[in-house]
Amino acid sequence: MTAPLIALRGIVIREILRFVHQRSRFLGALVRPLIWLLVFAAGFRAALGVSIMPPYETYITYEVYILPGLVGMIQLFNGMQSSLSMVYDREMGSMRVLLTSPLPRWWLLTCKLLAGTVVSILQVYAFLLIARAFGIDTPGWGLLAVLPALVASGMMLGALGLLLSSVIKQLENFAGVMNFVVFPLFFCSSALYPLWKMRESSVLLYQICSINPFTHAVELIRHALYLQIAWQALGWTVVAAVIFMALAVIGYDPARGLMRRKAEA
């Protein structure tokens, strides 16, 4: 096995171990979307059906509508969690060990990204299986078809997390990330309401939602669950992932990156 692959394996296994050992984190990752699904959606429940829109071919309940949005939420929080652990690693010094590896830094960051994505996908499947047990199901083969979409959306949201971790100075600043990144991304998206409904209340809000990369990640997942490819959403997700990742690599570059500014500060 070549060095880059050994590094990849090591980082992925470390992330999975870290995740599995933190049982409360696993529980938290599942409880959060389940509360939304079973409590929020129940209160909001459109028992008389949500209008037909692609990829749905008939009327659906609200639970069925928000399922892909909650899958996106799991990946969003997981991306932020990875970001948090990067900041933690940096404060604890274990990141120094990682970054002193002779392998190129972008590769190490990509490994970290892949590791986070694998962990998020494990969470998503656990969630989808529980939702199924509650009778909120999607076409069986959708569970398979959604995998590549989850890889794309997980990478994009993970890259966003990496980017954030490169600019956050201390662990304590993380609450700001929740306020200024996670909530706006989640609420200004198609996760909770169809975009046409947003447009009815505010065109500006609709436009913000339409350029939100999280909206595209959710739509990509939504269509994949129903065995369809949302090309536009896929394009947006990939472009956003590449931009976030490139910025993160620059951010972690000691010569010119944001890290240097931090050191100076």
Partner: protein
């Protein structure tokens, strides 16, 4: 890794079992037309203009002509399905809404909503054979499979009126819940199912004694009781299942026809009226009035698989093989 998984998924989608062949006709109450749906592809393949406010539609025994209640034209139209042309109109009495064809393939029993009568028309001679006085606002019509009884439900009198088809006389009445709209005989003519729109129930009546043996009620979480308004009903030939459309509750109830237990509720379009089962009884179609579409239900999986846009206010359905 991305592409093979997707290709696999899409390939399997394409390999899903196809629906049976056949043609579905849907009457569009507000568009004065019929939509034609190809059952194999589940797509609308044509539209035929007909008389005003078409509601009940039914096929002749050989499936060559379709009878259409054109309520506001006060006539029953006869449509040649080969040419898609109206052959002629039949005298029907005023405001025909629902009707039933006797197994002799010759006598149509038509409910005249405004006149409180049932009109019997001979489709060959195109003459009214008889008019029978029934309750106020007659609506539902059914003829037993053995041809012995024709029944009519009157929306305001809240009764089922039993007509002996041999003597063409009213022989009995059964009181049911408020606003009975539709009646269906089970396959062996032992039971008659009657839906009460305002009462929110389905009464199952013993044909011999003409007494109610069971009343089925419906309850959906989060949907107000007033919105549960049973109208259309379809029974499977094996006598195991009954489907009841619940109007503005936007659901179809699946009922065990032996224990009368409600097994499931399926979400369809807005204000579901009547339904039709394919001859193989694997697919059920529902006409959703307000949303203007037809929902397709997989009977075995008890799942709604698709909704197909048709004209405005679809009401009645008929299927030819």
């Amino acid at each position: 890794m991305r592409l093979p998984a997707l290709t696999l998924g899409l390939g399997l989608l394409a390999a899903l079992p196809a629906h049976a062949s056949g043609t579905l006709y849907v009457s569009n109450e507000k568009d004065d037309s019929l939509s034609i749906i190809d059952i194999a592809t589940l797509e609308v393949v044509g539209t035929i203009p007909v008389g005003q406010r078409p509601r009940g539609i039914t096929l002749s025994k050989d499936g060559s002509v379709l009878y259409i209640c054109a309520s506001d034209s006060d006539t029953v139209q006869v449509l040649d399905l080969k040419t898609g042309k109206i052959l002629h109109d039949l005298p029907s009495g005023e405001d025909p809404e629902q009707f039933a064809l006797h197994p002799d393939d010759r006598h149509l029993y038509i409910a005249n909503e405004d006149d409180a009568i049932v009109t019997i028309v001979d489709v060959d001679s195109r003459q009214v054979v008889q008019q029978i006085e029934v309750g106020v606002e007659p609506e539902g019509m059914a003829v037993s499979h053995d041809g012995r009884y024709a029944v009519n439900t009157s929306e305001t009198t809240n009764m089922v009126h039993w007509i002996d088809t041999a003597t063409k006389q009213l022989v009995a009445n059964t009181l049911v819940d408020q606003r009975p709209r539709h009646a269906v005989f089970d396959r062996d003519d032992r039971r008659l199912w009657v839906s009460s729109e305002i009462g929110g129930t389905v009464s199952v009546i013993d044909v011999d004694s003409k007494e109610i043996v069971q009343t089925i009620a419906f309850a959906l979480p989060n949907i107000h009781k007033d919105q549960i308004q049973p109208v259309g009903m379809e029974l499977t030939r094996d006598g195991k299942l009954a489907f009841v459309s619940l109007g503005p509750a936007n659901h179809v109830a699946v009922v065990d026809a032996q224990t009368y237990e409600v097994l499931d509720y399926l979400l369809v379009g807005r204000r579901v009226w009547h339904m039709a089962l394919t001859p193989d009884e694997k697919t059920l179609f529902t006409a959703n009035g307000v949303s203007g579409d037809v929902s397709v239900i997989d009977v075995e999986d008890r799942k709604v698989v698709k909704s197909i846009k048709v004209g405005r206010y679809p009401w009645g359905l008929a299927i030819t093989p």
